[in-house]
């Protein structure tokens, strides 16, 4: 019996083996591909678990270090990490913003109270920072649980398409998880993050001027800017905090009975791949992220008084936005101030009143 022209036994065996391989791949190719994908997802899941566990450990250690709890905080932290929020019903969307606002307020208060219980020795700034730290740990926990859910589901049902979808979005999920892990470290130490560029610019303007508090967790300073009067607004630092600029802007405009010539918002904006970190861009509209409650409130009040709304953003990607501030971003401050002067000089008259809002998490930035 000869498979191939060669007559020696070695080439016969190799030829037969290659034929077998061909048949195996034809019949089980997809199955093999499925197992390769499962393996890939499994590796990422394992990495996610390591990241999540490390975040949890960092959070617990930071609480022990600055909170000085009498008992071991581990079980309380674990309970905290499973905390969930149910978003309001949107079947009849009228008024949903205020419902969401209320739920977020309740959540915020509840989490802060919980932090005070877990870490009794921490001051106000540290409570804010610890809350941010725990919230990053919570996000990591959530990502891990979701990925694990779909992984197990895919494996149980041997459904290639569940695993395929998971594998397709995994690079983005991993990037986000790493960003949260970096954020967690920054929050634990109280370091300014890339998202803090707005508050940093506002704080720079506020230097040497009296500040007063406005709702909620925001500060405002009145100062001269290019011959105009500027009301400069930011979240109150240096604790990790975004404040509620929506309420603050509304109050400032109402206080001045709508006689505001312009609102300028400064924020970190998501950069696309290929764009440089720290690039400054200008535009129109409410430059503020989050669940949209603040953007809604600001839009509502500027529409009521027909006030032009300008935005200046500093470009950075999601990883830069939540990890310690990069030098390129810190260096963009002068550039933003220059752009702001141009906008104000071109679009308002001397003696006008303007509002400048530094949007973002003010962690590690005072005023």
């Amino acid at each position: 019996m000869a498979f191939a022209p060669g007559t020696d036994i070695v080439s016969q065996i190799i030829y037969a083996a290659s034929l077998m391989l061909f048949v195996v791949f034809m019949l089980y190719g997809q199955r093999i591909q499925f197992y390769v994908m499962i393996r890939e997802v499994e590796n990422s899941l394992r990495k996610l678990k390591v990241i999540k566990e490390k975040g949890r450990k960092t959070a617990i250690e930071t609480i022990k270090e600055i909170g000085k709890p009498e008992t071991d905080p581990t079980s309380k932290v674990d309970r905290y990490l499973e905390y969930f929020t149910i978003s309001p019903q949107s079947m009849d969307p009228a008024g949903i913003v205020y419902k969401l606002d209320h739920i977020l307020d309740v959540r915020d208060n509840r989490l802060k109270d919980e932090v005070k219980l877990i870490a009794p020795a921490s001051d106000e700034v540290q409570v804010f920072n610890l809350e941010n730290t725990l919230e990053a740990a919570m996000a990591l926990n959530f990502i891990y649980r979701i990925v694990r859910h779909f992984y197990i589901q895919g494996k149980k049902t041997l459904n290639m398409y569940i695993i395929l979808q998971l594998q397709m979005i995994l690079p983005l999920v991993m990037k986000e998880a790493e960003a949260y892990a970096n954020a967690l470290e920054a929050f634990a130490f109280g370091q300014p993050i890339g998202d803090g560029v707005g508050p940093l610019i506002a704080a720079r303007l506020m230097q040497g001027y009296e500040t007063r508090r406005v709702p909620k967790d925001c500060v405002v300073a009145t100062l001269p800017f290019e011959g105009r009067t500027a009301l400069v607004l930011k979240a109150r630092g240096p604790g990790g905090n975004v404040g509620k600029p929506g309420d603050a802007v509304k109050e400032l405009i109402e206080e001045n009975k709508g006689k505001i010539a312009m609102v300028i918002m400064i924020d970190a904006g998501l950069k696309l791949e290929g764009e440089k970190v720290g690039e400054v861009a200008e535009g129109i509209g409410a430059a503020i992220g989050g669940p949209g409650v603040d953007a809604f409130k600001i839009e509502e009040v500027v529409v009521k008084y027909k006030i032009p709304l300008n935005a200046i953003i500093v470009r950075e990607d999601i990883g830069d936005a939540v990890s310690p501030m990069r030098k390129e971003i810190a260096d963009s401050v002068d550039n933003v101030l220059e752009r702001m002067r141009n906008v104000v000089n071109e679009r308002t008259k001397e003696g006008d009143k303007i509002i400048i809002v530094g949007v973002g998490n003010t962690i590690g930035v005072g005023q």
């Binding site: 490390k54 130490f189 370091q191 300014p192 310690p324 810190a330």
Partner: protein, 136 residues
Amino acid sequence: MSKNSSDISNKISRYLQIIVFAVLALSFIALIFGVEAYLMGNGTVAIYLILIGALSMGLAVYVLYQSRKRVEKLKTEDTKVMTTIECRKCKTKDLREFERGDFVFKELGKCDKCEENKIITAIYKEIKNKEKPFTI
């Protein structure tokens, strides 16, 4: 990245290295047998052995090179966060590593030369190894 995950990656690369070196040794033996078979005049066996030996050796070297590159990449990702301290009056600038409790625009103690308070003007991290730009 972090200490913990780089520990794990070190462990993985150690296992990998053991495997790679085992493969290298085996491929070396295969090459020797191949040469021996050739000298004995057994041409086909010699070709197969040399082919397998060379292929697996190439593969092993490639994997080793790749894992080295990855470890190097992990190492360079560690960057320190720096705090800049300035005296507004005499314009002196100090740079030191970040300490817990630092924040931008925090007033520190008196300056060494004058009565003015020193102030933190910036906190940032500098990434030395920039990602490679895509010029398109």
